[in-house]
């Protein structure tokens, strides 16, 4: 913990910053695509130069949902591991291999999309077919992230060997949980890409089993959202308490909540396939029940956050039922941005419970409600927390300081984001309940009466999207300042400490065999029979479709 004010060696900082550069470049490109989408869907604008709507939709989803998130997470987690358990020269070398593999994969996939050879959206559902380079690029991003996974595992292993009998640092433990989840989950999509999509897109296989590919995608797709969310939880549990001048509320609670998230994030993919024919409703129900188990660690997190705020405030002498709340550091963007993220997770989480509620899913399935939902969760909760982290991490890595002026700009950025997203996401939720579809380009659907109720919300989305893009420009400006121009200094790397008299953390919480064993058992329970069913009873596979979207 005494290391928090000591800067990383230059060679480490350069590695972590490389991930941050790709993150913020992705934010600009992906954000611009988002703006174009909302303008196009308003019906008031046409995309210039004959640009295909589904090209920009795919760029938006892939660059923000897969590239920005993965690069930020891997870079941030390397920094956390470097700070808490250290990084050897050999580990750093492999971390660079991870970075370059991911970057080559990203560029390959991005070029394929931009030249119109992969208009398949970020879910790349078969039978839409992209050029093989798209799938190969995505596979490289995943392989690169796996290298990072094993570097992180190795970092903790080496530390444990050097510190026998000691509890691992909380943040290192959390990183390893997240990477274990990512590795187990991404095996699904990697299998699908390697065995199904690449041979099929190259013409070696004539047809593809659509249901199997979608099942393998969502086996990965749901834990993917937790892969995005857990780094935000790391900040909420172990960094925000330090920023507000408090201590860790409970090391054991934090670890238990991460373990539960590991166990219940993966065997739940069917809740994305509730309207899918070909899956036995009993197994859908079982996975819905498992999905609801995730509510437990989520509410544990909410309790822990409130409790951290209250204990810290009361220790500082703030009285009354909510005196502690009034005195939180509202003028510190390192706190404010993640806090708004936490608030957005309340409607985001409540909406998620509706989405997963089996039959009630039909109310919102494939409507733009779902887009509104994940713009609250990933594009507000997660991204504002990432921004909140970047405000101290970037200057810490570049040996600069978050000045009062940049802090103020950060606060303005957070407010712009909040306003833009409130307008955009709320109108998406309402339009979704009115039946407005997601994914599709603007259409008046031959003038149906129901369609008339949608247009005002689509215009509101364009207004919200424009405000958000202004927020992105401001964020890029702040990033460039923090990376290259802010005054030299030492920005704190805030890591919360435990209470001096904290209860010892039970050793069982670090029993990796037990927790990963239960995780694998739950996955086998939830997926074995339905997947055998899918393999045995699937209809004939599908030929590829390159039109109307695809290639």
């Amino acid at each position: 913990m005494m290391l928090k004010n000591v800067l990383f060696p230059k060679k480490d900082a350069r590695l972590y910053m490389s991930f941050m550069h790709v993150t913020f470049a992705s934010l600009l490109i992906g954000g611009l695509m988002g703006l174009l989408q909302t303008l196009s869907r308003s019906g008031e604008f046409q995309l210039p130069f004959g640009i295909n709507y589904y090209t920009i939709l795919t760029v938006h989803g892939v660059i923000l949902g897969l590239v920005l998130t993965t690069f930020f997470i891997v870079g941030f987690q390397f920094a956390l591991m470097g700070k808490t358990v250290g990084m050897s020269d050999k580990q750093r070398k492999w971390a660079w291999v991870a970075f370059w593999t991911m970057l080559v994969g990203t560029i390959t996939a991005a070029i394929t999309i931009l030249v119109g050879q992969a208009n398949v959206l970020y879910t790349f559902y078969a039978p839409l077919r992209a050029h093989a380079a798209f799938y190969i690029g995505l596979a490289l991003v995943i392989v690169g992230s796996w290298i990072a996974v094993f570097v992180n595992f190795r970092q903790l292993y080496v530390w444990k060997k050097a510190h026998p009998g000691q509890k691992s640092p909380l943040l290192a433990f959390m990183v390893v949980i997240n990477m274990a989840m990512w590795f187990i989950a991404s095996l699904g999509v990697a299998t699908s890409v390697l065995i199904q999509f690449i041979p099929w897109s190259l013409g070696y296989a004539a047809t593809i089993n659509v249901l199997l590919s979608r099942t393998l995608f969502w086996y990965f797709g749901h834990p993917l959202v937790y892969f995005w969310l857990l780094p935000a939880y790391m900040a909420w549990y172990a960094i925000i308490p330090k920023i507000i001048g408090g201590k860790l509320f409970s090391d054991s609670l934090a670890r238990l909540s991460f373990i539960l998230l590991l166990m219940f994030s993966i065997p739940v993919g069917f809740h994305h396939q509730l309207t899918e024919p070909g899956i036995d409703p009993t197994w859908k129900f079982i996975q819905v029940v498992l999905t609801f188990m995730v509510v437990i660690p989520t509410l544990m997190t909410a309790f822990s956050i409130f409790a951290t705020f209250e204990t810290t405030g009361r220790r500082k002498g703030h009285k009354g039922l909510f005196g502690w709340f009034k005195h939180l550091p509202w003028k510190d963007v390192r706190f404010l941005a993640p806090f708004i993220g936490m608030v957005a997770f309340i409607p985001g989480g409540a909406g998620g419970i509706v989405n997963a509620s089996h039959q009630m899913n039909t109310l919102i399935h494939n409507t733009i409600w779902v887009t509104g939902h994940f713009h609250l969760t990933v594009a507000t909760t997660v991204i504002l927390t990432y921004f909140g982290i970047a405000y101290w991490l970037v200057p810490h890595l570049t040996g600069r300081r978050l000045t009062p002026r940049l802090n103020k700009l950060g606060i303005i950025q957070t407010i712009i984001w909040t306003v833009g997203m409130t307008i955009m996401s709320t109108s998406m939720h309402i339009q979704g309940l009115l039946g407005g579809p997601r994914r599709s380009n603007f259409s008046n659907y031959a003038g149906g009466a129901q369609v008339d109720t949608w247009i005002s919300y689509q215009i509101a989305q364009a207004v919200g999207g424009t405000i958000l893009f202004i927020g992105i420009i401001l964020m890029i400006y702040i990033f460039i300042q923090l990376a290259f121009f802010a005054p030299r200094g030492v920005q704190e790397f805030p890591i919360a400490e435990e209470e001096v008299d904290a209860e010892p953390t039970p050793k069982i919480l670090e029993n990796w065999y037990l927790w990963i064993g239960i995780t694998v058992a739950l996955i086998l329970f939830a997926y074995t029979i339905p997947v055998i069913d899918i393999l045995k009873h699937s209809p004939p596979g599908s030929l590829p479709f390159d039109w109307p979207i695809g290639r």
Binding site: F306, I346, I353, L433, D501
Partner: protein, 51 residues
């Protein structure tokens, strides 16, 4: 229930550091959170039934 002022007693006497902490605000906050979730869910359930 423990009602000690934590300011006067920064170090708890019991083994559990949380016994002396007033968490009434947290209790009310999590209850409000629960109410929000229930209202949202039942509101949409009513919409589901009405369609």
């Amino acid at each position: 229930m423990a009602t000690d002022n934590p300011k006067k007693r920064p170090v708890q006497q019991s083994g559990n550091p949380h016994t002396g902490i007033n968490l009434k605000g947290t209790f009310i906050s999590v209850m409000l959170l629960g109410v929000f979730i229930l209202v949202t869910w039942f509101g949409l359930y009513a919409l589901f039934l009405s369609r």
